[in-house]
Symmetry: C2
Subunit: 424 residues, 2 copies
């Protein structure tokens, strides 16, 4: 959970902000990947400012800068101290922020770059994956009042000791939304290399359609499910503070997708999108004697090893007092998860443990399915009609996920996209 506190007392700038809309832009690493692209971003930002807006821009590191820094680091250590890791990689955003401020100034747009710390982004005292605790906007407001575009390094803040802290993957999106929330900005424009959220991956299903508006809840399910457009943390933050996100292309000047409070009329369509996640692995523990607390034991051991478990299925055998259990984890955790499960299997006197990394998770998402029964049945029968075998099923109020063989993932997406008429 991300918490953004607001100063309770009356602030003279409040009046100012009332009359001049504040817009937060976020540009990802690809969008600021070269000096030429940085100049393009500067031109876009200036145009928005010239229309009479306060503009705050959050930037990621240029293109592959972070990866280059990590390569350099790996020549020294493969097990870096998290504090020093943050000290190192945070320089990437500082470079792009300074360059964007210069690019703005060179086209006569007053600008200033601020590190996360200078911008008042205060985080927990945890390196590499802290959450934002508080945003003190004094400096940002002062610079806006002076008529400047404020460029802020995404992905970072400072802790109570004054150390530089990065806020983990997807951090820049979250920085942008949190700063937008603190500034009570009108909209948070997240510029990226796709031009919006599609009903599914257009590379898999050419008929995929761009969604004009999607609710936080739906986007949250899609973002968590491998539609790698927006990090779920940023969507969650936007939902909590009611910040409208406009996800759009950094190169094409067209409307993208608004992520915002769900509207009633959108409930008509049961399913809004289909997501495919290939970064998934299945782990099973076989014939576990049926004692209370066995599941707790296993999942506590996995949690202790910081392994995120996604879907969990338990099936009771009809003929014995033993159960099979299966769960999914991220592919990178598969080996470790299998080892832990094997140990627990021994302890529990289960038959053994197995894993399968050759699977895919396919999900359909839509707030509409709450009010429309039968969505799950349609999903299962259409997959079955296409000859696709379902290995695991998991459901939430607005999402249904199935695990299938990896090789059938793309076909499954196409089948479901058609079944739920997302191309129409």
């Amino acid at each position: 959970m991300i918490i953004v506190r607001f100063a309770g007392k009356f602030h003279p700038f409040l009046v100012y902000y009332k009359y001049m809309p504040t817009i937060v832009h976020k540009y990802g690493g690809t969008s600021v990947g070269t000096p030429e692209k940085i100049k393009n971003v500067a031109a876009k930002v200036k145009a928005v400012r010239d229309k009479g807006n306060n503009v705050v821009v959050i930037v990621s590191a240029m293109g592959h800068t972070t990866d280059e820094l990590i390569d350099l680091m790996h020549k020294i250590t493969t097990d870096p101290d998290p504090r020093e890791y943050d000290m190192l990689v945070s320089t990437g955003e500082q470079v792009s922020a300074a360059l964007l401020a210069m690019a703005l100034q060179s086209i006569n747009c007053p600008a200033v770059s601020l590190t996360g710390g200078q911008a008042g982004v205060e985080t927990e005292d945890i390196y590499r994956k802290a959450r934002i605790k508080n945003i003190k906007l004094d400096r940002v407001k002062k610079e806006l009042k002076a008529g400047k575009v404020v460029v802020i390094t995404g992905f970072q803040g400072i802790d109570s000791k004054g150390d530089i802290i990065t806020i983990g993957r997807g951090g820049s999106d979250t920085s942008a939304v949190a700063i937008a929330a603190a500034l009570k900005a009108d909209v948070c424009d997240i510029y990226t290399d796709v031009d919006g959220v599609y009903t599914t991956d257009p590379r898999i299903v050419p008929e995929a359609k761009k969604i004009k508006s999607i609710s936080y809840e739906e986007m949250l399910e899609l973002a968590s499910l491998g539609a790698q457009v927006l990090h779920p943390r940023s969507v969650e933050c936007a939902m909590v503070y009611g910040i409208k996100i406009h996800l759009r292309s950094s190169t094409k000047d067209i409307e993208g997708t608004y992520i915002e409070e769900g509207k009633k009329m959108e409930l008509k369509k049961a399913v809004r999108g289909v997501a495919l996640d290939l970064e998934v692995a299945k782990v099973g523990i076989l014939q576990v004697p049926d004692h209370p607390g066995t599941a707790a034991k296993l999942f506590k051991a996995l949690a202790d090893a910081k392994i995120n478990v996604d879907m969990i299925i338990q099936s009771v055998h009809s003929v014995s007092a033993a159960a099979d259990m299966a769960f999914t984890v991220n592919k990178t955790d598969a080996k470790k998860a299998l080892e832990i499960t094997q140990e627990i299997a021994k302890e529990l006197k289960a038959e053994g443990a197995v894993s399968d990394t050759n699977v895919a998770k396919i999900s359909i998402v839509g707030t509409g399915m709450i009010s429309q029964p039968g969505v799950a049945a349609r999903m299962f029968s259409s997959l079955s009609a296409a000859g696709i075998n379902i290995e695991m099923i998991s459901t939430s109020e607005i999402k249904i996920s199935c695990v299938v063989k990896a090789a059938e993932g793309k076909k499954a997406v196409a089948v479901l996209h058609k079944e739920f008429e997302l191309d129409k």
Copy 2:
């Protein structure tokens, strides 16, 4: 002038420092140019710490990092805002500091990297060339007390607004000496790609000898005179606070040159070193009518244009009430200086102005010359005997400089090195 303030009140750490010597190391960009070199530096630092010393390391940016950042910047602007310039280039030292801390940790030497700001280096509110005002050592002392090697980014600090400030060329040496002064360190080891101060450039005179110990004053004259080993600012700071500098090789484990309080016995040798400066240009203003205030007018105009004037000579013509004046400036300022001088010449109704960039300044330095008359005469006559024409002369208590034709600079160095028996 660099000012380092000390907290007046009694501090519990003082007792601690009494019993554990504190040594400050400084490594330049070449010394930390590759991951391999960073590992070598880590090994050296650990060895010193393992002998029971507190070690603070000041690092420059890796090799050509700063130049690469500036190249990147030039693709966006050739006239960067000084504030954004500092924001950009300061990342170079942050990267090398973090990597060195990681390298130390990976050989089981506890370490922490700090930015200039985190280390409490407070500067004037001037971007790109601030002076250090104050060093608040709370964090550094805390980390030393915890048994860590403290790695600090050279060349930078923060101003009263919390902005990142670089302290100009030669900044890392000055950072090191100022931090050594604030810590009351026993010695400031400056590791570089030469192994000490020589009587002159060994590439010009193969007989040049390494100097074991040299006084601040002598080093100051040599540093200012193009013996590009140590920046004069750092020597000045060391002199003011009585910090002993050990200038030494980052690759060879041998004694270098100590820069310290001058000793009486050193006065025996009149001349300690010969320096050659090819980055010099001569500007002349001809036949200036002899009115009071003409020199003031010219040099004020040059100062207003931030041009540093070095030697100044005025010769009165015997037959007319007019004078010629000549002065030297850095070669990069020659064009601008000539333009200003031409304007002033017009105003003063002088005959005109000329410049010559094809000159060299050759200097001999030694505190001994105070007590030994005739040093200047020996210099002039030995140059004359070698057929070298002297165009300008300037003297101080411990230095004599002559301007000669650029082509004769190296020959002049060799002549003077032999004349003053520096090879013995």
